[in-house]
Symmetry: C2
Subunit: 354 residues, 2 copies
């Protein structure tokens, strides 16, 4: 049963600013790879015969995986490319303006995949969910309660088989995923060290997220030496968000039966030729379990995850830091900033207040 929707005298045309990808990107993405289309218009009603919703986008989420969608998809890619000339898409929080879908009604606050534009007509609603918990900021549904949160949860608990007292290292540790992995590990009684790319982030890791130690990798000419300083006994668990040189240095410092969860390799996404990793022989001598993963395989854990994280939030055991830019026109800069580490915490763009 469609609730509301269709026809009526508010079937008006409104302006609809959009963030458009000009063409497939190779190398480091630039702001000029996008443009803001200010000439678009849209209707705020779901057209008759279509099952879907029209939403007003309130917040949009910037996530590293989106880099992959900026290039032409290769056969067997796990995700579609953005379409040059069209608005890009990603996770967001939005308000339903009109619905021809039984699960949603006008006024609902929802989260899931939406377009990078002011208003979106959404017809593939598989990823769309109502915002159920209004005692937390709605932006949490793009971070701690959304895809990055479940990524941290699944990657840490399912892949790393963590145990109390183990030595845990996290790269890009103040990011949307890393900050949660570190806090999960601390709550379990692990010794936790994170790396990040600025003094501000290192302070955040130590003071806000209560990591045992943290360091600025940009100030460490010898990553192996840095890791040996913080892990004289070696590393049991490495939660890898960066790949490349850091992964190579970590391999030298893993303990026997260590585990490496490969969540991301952000240091490599923009390189034409990914760096070589030279120390894989340590996988054998240390009997290391290294596993890549995608959050898409773990959505069955979502209810359990949300329950646990909400109770951690309620008990004040976990905090979450967001970096909120303002205005749709600032979306490209915010997205690109992920790859230079400009964001401090989970990057979000506020598009509209209500």
């Amino acid at each position: 049963m469609a609730s509301g929707g269709g026809g009526g005298d508010d079937d008006v045309q409104v302006k609809n600013k959009q963030v458009i990808l000009k063409d497939y990107v190779s190398g480091f993405p630039k702001e000029s790879d996008f443009y803001i289309n200010t000439n678009g218009t849209t209707k705020l009603k779901v057209p008759e015969g279509i099952i879907g919703v029209v939403v007003k986008n309130l917040y949009l989420s910037c996530d590293p995986y989106m880099r992959n969608r900026m290039k032409k998809a290769v056969a067997g890619s796990y995700i579609d490319s953005f379409k040059p000339g069209s608005p890009i898409s990603g996770y967001g929080v939005a308000k339903v303006l009109d619905s021809r879908h039984p699960d949603f009604k006008k006024g609902d606050l929802v989260w899931g995949r939406t377009g990078w534009e002011e208003y979106s007509l959404l017809t593939n609603l598989v990823t769309l969910n109502k915002v159920l918990h209004t005692d937390v900021p709605p932006t949490y549904y793009m971070g701690i309660l959304g895809m990055p949160g479940l990524t941290a949860y699944a990657g840490f608990y399912e892949l790393c088989s963590p145990m109390k007292g183990e030595y845990v290292f996290i790269s890009a540790a103040s990011g949307a995923v890393g900050q949660l992995v570190g806090q999960f590990a601390k709550l379990l009684g692990c010794y936790v060290v994170g790396s990040a790319g600025s003094k501000e982030k290192v302070d955040l890791l130590k003071n806000k997220f209560r990591f045992n130690e943290a360091f600025n990798y940009k100030e460490e000419p010898d990553l192996d030496a840095a890791l040996k300083r913080y892990f004289p006994e070696g590393i049991d668990i490495y939660f890898d968000n960066v790949g490349g040189k850091m992964l190579d240095a970590v391999l030298l410092n893993m303990r026997v039966h260590g585990r490496i969860a490969v969540c991301g390799m952000i240091s490599q996404y923009n390189l034409h030729n990914p760096e070589g990793v030279h120390n894989l022989m340590h996988l054998i001598s240390k009997r290391i379990h290294m596993e890549g993963f995608l959050v898409f395989d773990y959505y069955h854990l979502y209810p359990k995850f949300v329950e646990q994280v909400l109770s951690y939030i309620a008990e004040g055991k976990i905090v979450y830091v967001e970096d909120i830019a303002e205005g749709l026109e600032n979306c490209p800069a915010a997205l690109i900033g992920l790859f230079t580490g400009r964001n401090v915490g989970k990057q979000i763009v506020l598009v509209a207040r209500e």
Copy 2:
């Protein structure tokens, strides 16, 4: 209770040729890194007060892991280095000449760790076992029924979670371990392709071990293209014995939820700077489980393994190819030949017939 041993009139001194490591080796090992000491002597009795056995070495085993023992051990290494100036050691089959240990008596045929010399006084008997099954060649205890066999068994069944119909690729596939992994996979109903370094070995893989396909990697300028030819649908399981460029090409061809058991990286053992592996990002998009292992962690499976393999042998379901050199003085050449692929099948040296 010591059985036999001690004193008596056959307490004579005999000549004892030995294979001595001159010094730690860097780069490719050469025959000249060893010398044959022809001046040594030994007594054929276990000295009073010592718990051990004196054995006559019949066969010695050449195994790739021994390369690691030729260099100076680094902290945390899983295995001791050979001692320059002393005879090297490894797996072998030997006859007990004298015993002061309750588990062994004169005349027993045994297998386990021994010295590269004609006669050895063995006092650490943890790895020493009696040859129980005399309906198979005793050399099998250094191969199909020994360390390489258990390596193949544990690596394939425990790490790869293989299923009927899956696509399996094995590098160094005609070697001591690879030939068994391929036959295990075939028995399970997998599609099996192996790579090796000569036409003779490729023929062996196809005709003797009944792999579905095999190719000579030395004749493939583009390993990625070769793998795409044999695995148009991609690879579910890669049993890696070589590392380096082949691993890099395999990563491009893995299927979603693929598994890589890292057993060895023989292409890298002799390099001062191991090659870089560039395609690890595929671990994420394909959600690949990659795990290094050492057979030492799986000796609890030995009884089950032997039972299964003996029945496969008895039923003619599995064959094993050995490459047997003759004479202790040919040990260095046989050992070094592993790193240039000179051996065809499991490399063994016959030291004495009885």
